[in-house]
Structures are given as structure tokens and as C-alpha cells.
Subunit: 250 residues, 2 copies
Amino acid sequence: MKITIIGAGNVGYQLTKGLTLAGYKIYQVFSRTEERLKDVFPALTKQATTNLQAIKSDADLYIIAVHDDAIQSVAEELVVHHGIVTHTSGATGKAILKAHKNYGIFYPLQTFTRSKPVDFAQIPLCIDGNNKQVIQKLTNIAKQLSQKIYYLDDAQRELIHVTAVIVNNFTNHLFDIAYTILQDNQLDFSILQPLILETAQKVQTKLPSQAQTGPAKRKDKKTLDKHLRLLENYPNYQLLYKLLSKSIME
Amino acid sequence: MKITIIGAGNVGYQLTKGLTLAGYKIYQVFSRTEERLKDVFPALTKQATTNLQAIKSDADLYIIAVHDDAIQSVAEELVVHHGIVTHTSGATGKAILKAHKNYGIFYPLQTFTRSKPVDFAQIPLCIDGNNKQVIQKLTNIAKQLSQKIYYLDDAQRELIHVTAVIVNNFTNHLFDIAYTILQDNQLDFSILQPLILETAQKVQTKLPSQAQTGPAKRKDKKTLDKHLRLLENYPNYQLLYKLLSKSIME
């Protein structure tokens, strides 16, 4: 099984690591910049290239893990003999790869960082393909990485992606808002860290609606008004506070 | 050391459990309703009462863990000889207890549920008092429960409380929004659970601003527009999506 990874960003890096740990040999790996390749894949120097034309056509699986905007041009440049061409984007349809005979999706639903090791066993892998053989082959590979395999079409994957943005990007932004307010008042963000962790842990076993607490949930107008006054110097955060509280109350 | 707990809600329950495990004997415990007391404190039946007048005046510490609106009336009804009267509210000033000679704050910063055991060692305890002796005594007790002790005045505690609402209540509401969208489309919320956990874990060691990713951060207008279209059936969520994305971009 020859697997080629296109892209040396966080997803490309973690997939390369995860597939290697799962026993697969990475056939080739591509990055636009040499520094990135050397920095990220020192063990794969021989297989590494910064030239898309140097990607060989006889791999069994190509995983395109580049920015959404670049997927199409990369896919069109690839010359592929029999292999499956996939991308890892939650927001991009699979038809963008349709120039190839066998194509599909290999979308790990997680937020990746270079520096933080990930346990692929706990990461949902979303799979799709343009025919049954593709789906079967991708399933076989995915199973070596994770027990959590989901078969999602484009429309479903888009919905998963928008909710992933909500629970990850927006949640993290709320953390950043809290950080900013505390920092401006010489208070330490670390006081909130256990609460943040517990909030996430609760919805591992409970429904979010059952875990909801707080002044908006209680319709505690006195506290809500006090909080809005406290946020007077942050009109942007004040508006978000108002709308999120209103949404909880509805 | 005689500790009396007023209130059998989640905070009163978990504090009673935590203090007992830390080696303290609970002197008395009060709840408005008998069912609650029997249900929650079966081991403390002898010390339990539903009558505030039956609370003895010779305890060393009273912890009032009732709804914010009820703190004042409960505090005024208490007859206290020498003990310290505290409450556990993040949003309420300590002066509400000033009818007593010794008073202060014993505010554990965590989201409590009856059914979920908590590790008090990891829970920040916010302490304040109307004199040095009170602060010293509360510190001694707090140290038996947690290593994370914070000395915060009213203004600081209010700020901590508003940021706690942001990172807990609002974050959980975002989880609920995601749940609703997935549920409406026959998709399983469990696919998001690992992402939710990792999002919280990241900010245990990284700054939220360093952990920020996503279409708004990248100013990826194409994806943002697509997501807004996907949320067309949810005008309320669409507005929140728009404002949170705008706030990230600023």
C-alpha cells in the first residue's frame, strides 16, 4: 500500500505520523516549501518533494491536505494511474476531485496542532467515495487509525463542518474573550481552566441541554444586567453576551 | 471545627461531600425541602433540618449555598455566636452578610452536577473576608480541599464570574446549538465530542489566541458564506455565527 501525502500543514503532518504509527509506509510527501518539509518530516527526506510534478503516479492513495482554495489546482496537477485521490476538507465537495477515476474523502474531525501529539483512535474519520470499492479501501485504512468511522455525503459533511466551527472556533473565541477581560484586569486565565475542561467533559456523557446552567437559563435578570454593566467597556463582547443570553432564554 | 451548610443544591451537596472527604464533620445541613435532604444527605439525617431557626448558633463556619436572591434573607435569619458566615456566589458582594461580625466568601469556581463526582483538588477556591482572621481561617479550610486558592475582592470576583458565564454557559449553549442542528439532520452529536474535549484541552497549555483556527480566523469568505447559507433555517444561529465570526476577524 503506497500512500502519498500532499501538504505539510497540521493535518498532513498528523496524518503522516498517524499512518506511519499504524504501520503504513508513506510513499511520498509534498510541501510547497523545503523548510517545512525538513522541519516537519526529517525522517521522510528521501520521499519528500516540493515539486508537484515529481509526485509519482503509482501510489494507491493520495491524501490532499492543503488549504481548501488549493485543492482543485493540486488535484488537477496530479497524474494518477490507479490510486484513489482524496482530500481532507470538511467544507469542500468531493466532485472537486472528479477528474480522477477513483476519488473520495478522508476527513479527520479534529483540531490539529503541530506540537501536540494526537490519539487517532479517538478521532472520528469521515469517509466518502465515488464508488463502493473506494469506500471499502478507505474504510480498511481508516480502521487502522480509528474506531470511529462515519460515512457522510457532501451535504452531511458540510453540516458537520459548520457545527465543528461552532463548537471549536467559536468556543475558543469565547475563551479568548474571557482571557482578554481577565488580562485587562490583571487576573489570571488559569482560574478558568478547570471550568473549561469540566464544561467539555460534561457533554461527553450528558446532553448539552441538560448541562445548561447560569443566569440566562435561570432568567436571572439582576445578574444579566450586572454582567452587561461590567462589559460596558467592551461593546462587542456586550452585544455577544446579550445575544447568547437571549438565545439561551428562547 | 463545626461547619454548617445552608442549601442542598449542587454546590451545597458537593461542598458537603468535599469537606467530609477532607476530614471535616458537617455540624448541620439545611434545605428548604425534606425530600431533598433525605435524597441528598442520607448519611447526615440527624444533622439535617428544614427549619432555618433550628440552625445552631455555635458553628465555626456557615456556608450559605442558596440562590443569589435568597442569600440576604437567609443570612439575616441566622443567629451566629462567633462563627464566620460565608456565601458561595460569584455575583454577590460580601457586604450582603455584613449583619454578622465575621463574614466572607467561599466560592468554588466550577460547574457542579449532583451525579458527577468532582475532584476538589482541581477546583479554584475564591476566598475573601471582612478581616484578616476570617481570611486566615477560610484559607486553612480551603487548603484541605484544594491547592488552588485565589484571594479576590468583590470587583475581581464579579469579573471572574462574568468570564465563567462566558466560558461555561455560553460554550455549553454553542454545544447545544450544534446538537440541535445535527439532530434536525439525523446526525449524531457524538461525532463532535472528541473535538469539544480537545478544544478545552488545548487552552490548558496554550493561549486561546494561539489555538484559534477556522474560516473566520483565515478570513475565508467563501466558507463563511457557505456556512451562513447552511444556517438559513436558523436565523438566530445565523446571526450568532455572523457576529462571532466578525468578532474573531477583528
